[in-house]
């Protein structure tokens, strides 16, 4: 118990320093623009298929599952707006972030972990290349920027999934469905949801990099780094989400 607590405090301290270094390095030139773009491509574009499938299924399933209840209340016509509201506010951000924690945080953890173990990070350092700047800053920036975009994309696909789900039993034209959705979606529904996804993205990148960068030597630690990155990133998404709900509740 004693060592457990000590580890938690030690880890918290180290993560804080690691984060502090991010903000210090990000403002110092030179900027690794090429690597940043490459990471955006690897993180954003390559996650599209996964996010499309999960987004579509979320919308579809949510609609089909909610329909009986809505019919009981005689509120079937509310189905499109209810589904899209819960998608945009909660389900798409959290599910997409979790999927990305699984795919991206583990990927970064494993990649940087193996670079650490095979001395590639040391090799950069002796070549007078700042590995933190080149590897960590670019990846954290890329996830912070890409996760919100992926989530917005998942919103769209999710609503489309809802449309297909609605038409399994009912019938409504695509145009009618989407105008129904847009009519009931306020801009204000988007803002808190979008803001929190930036934090999700930041933490996915941060945790993946932290775990990878601090992998101990030996190939086994690469697997450990990847695994811990997924667990910690997923957990942090739930905690952040809870905080976000409390804060949104205060202000909106």
């Amino acid at each position: 118990m004693h060592t457990y607590l000590k580890n938690i405090f030690e880890d918290t301290g180290k993560v804080t320093l690691f984060t502090g270094r991010f903000f210090k390095e990000i403002i110092k030139p030179p900027f690794q623009i090429n690597e940043f773009i490459r990471q955006c491509y690897a993180i954003g574009y390559k996650s599209l298929p996964l996010v499309s499938i999960t987004g579509f299924i979320m919308g579809l399933v949510l609609t089909i599952q909610s329909r009986p209840t809505m019919i009981q209340f005689g509120a079937e016509s509310w189905l499109p707006s209810m589904v899209s509201l819960s998608l945009v506010r909660e389900i798409a951000p959290v599910i997409t972030a979790l999927i990305c924690a699984g795919k991206i945080a583990s990927g970064i953890g494993a990649e940087l972990g193996s670079m650490k173990v095979t001395e590639q990070i040391d090799a950069m350092e002796v070549s007078a290349i700042n590995p933190y700047k080149y590897l960590v800053v670019t990846r954290i920036l890329a996830t912070t920027l890409m996760i919100p975009i992926l989530v917005l994309y998942a919103d769209l696909i999710g609503v489309f999934g809802g449309y297909i789900g609605f038409n399994v039993r009912g019938s409504m034209s695509m145009f009618a469905y989407f105008s129904e959705v847009i009519e009931h979606l306020d801009f204000i529904d988007f803002i808190p949801a979008v803001i929190k996804t930036f934090f999700f993205g930041f933490f996915i990148g941060l945790i993946g990099c932290y775990k990878g960068f601090n992998a101990s030597s030996g190939t086994a630690s690469v697997g450990i780094a990847a695994n811990e990155a997924v667990v910690a990133a997923s957990l942090s998404i739930f905690i952040l989400d809870m905080l976000a709900v409390q804060i949104t509740d205060l202000f909106f």
Binding site: M115, T118, Q120, D122, E125, V126, S127, A128, I129
Partner: protein, 244 residues
């Protein structure tokens, strides 16, 4: 030969936890000299040269490189020194996500600012030719054999034309013919560019060919020092065991 020390380590000690790896190590490398370090596996050879470039922080002692104590430098000053040193890692440490060409270009671009693409290409080809691997230019590190990786790592070290080169087992895992070629290359680099080097090796043929002076490290202490022929004649049982 001019006998000006370019590297001078004084009373270097380093422990990892309870594991005392280096105990009061003293060594000097003169300008233009190749120093060979021998020693059993785990005796602290790699740690010694990692201390030299600040990859491992020394617990105690002074490490003078180009007359500057690297243990007391700020990051940017340390980088200044590092850019004049070539470091060849024991396992190559090639960047897995980059092709051979990108590996070399990446290192070169960050080393010399504002160098044209044609110039980079020319130097890459030159460096690869010197290790006899110009065909591998577009391969990924994963597609190379162990020995090829080693030679690419050597090319990557040489491409920045360092004044000091630290080789960590440059010939281990290579066949005897390639080993010999690499040893000769190390020797010719020393002759041609007047570099000073530390060469860690288990390969006595390489030590004999490249070493102006040889040092034997035993459990973090320097056990013996001298030229190849001096050590060969040593009566010390333990030193002799290296020469069988």
């Amino acid at each position: 030969m001019e006998t000006k020390a370019i590297i001078s380590i004084k009373n270097l000690s380093k422990s990892f936890g309870d594991n005392e790896v280096l105990k009061d190590v003293n060594l000097t490398v003169n300008k233009g000299e190749d120093l060979v370090i021998l020693g059993r596996s785990g005796s602290g050879k790699s740690v010694t040269i990692k201390c030299l470039v600040g990859l491992v922080e020394a617990d105690k002692g002074e490490i003078l490189v180009f007359d500057t104590d690297v243990t007391k430098l700020k990051d940017n000053e340390l980088n200044e020194i590092r850019s004049r040193i070539g470091f060849m890692f024991q396992n190559g440490a090639l960047y897995d996500s980059m092709s051979v060409r990108q590996n070399l270009a990446f290192t070169l671009k960050h080393h010399t600012k504002e160098v044209s693409d044609e110039e980079i290409e020319k130097q890459i080809i030159e460096a690869l030719e010197s290790v006899g691997l110009e065909d591998a230019i577009d391969k990924m590190p994963a597609e190379l054999s162990g020995g090829m990786r080693k030679r690419i790592a050597l090319a990557r070290t040489l491409i920045i034309q360092p004044e000091i080169i630290l080789y960590d087992e440059p010939t281990s895992g290579l066949d005897s013919i390639t080993s010999r070629e690499i040893s000769e290359l190390i020797l010719s680099v020393q002759k041609k560019y007047k570099t000073s080097s530390i060469i860690i090796t288990h390969d006595m043929a390489c030590a004999k060919l490249t070493g102006n002076r040889i040092m034997i490290l035993n459990e973090g202490v320097i056990h013996a020092e001298g030229t190849y022929s001096e050590l060969e004649k040593s009566t010390d049982e333990w030193v002799r065991s290296f020469f069988i």
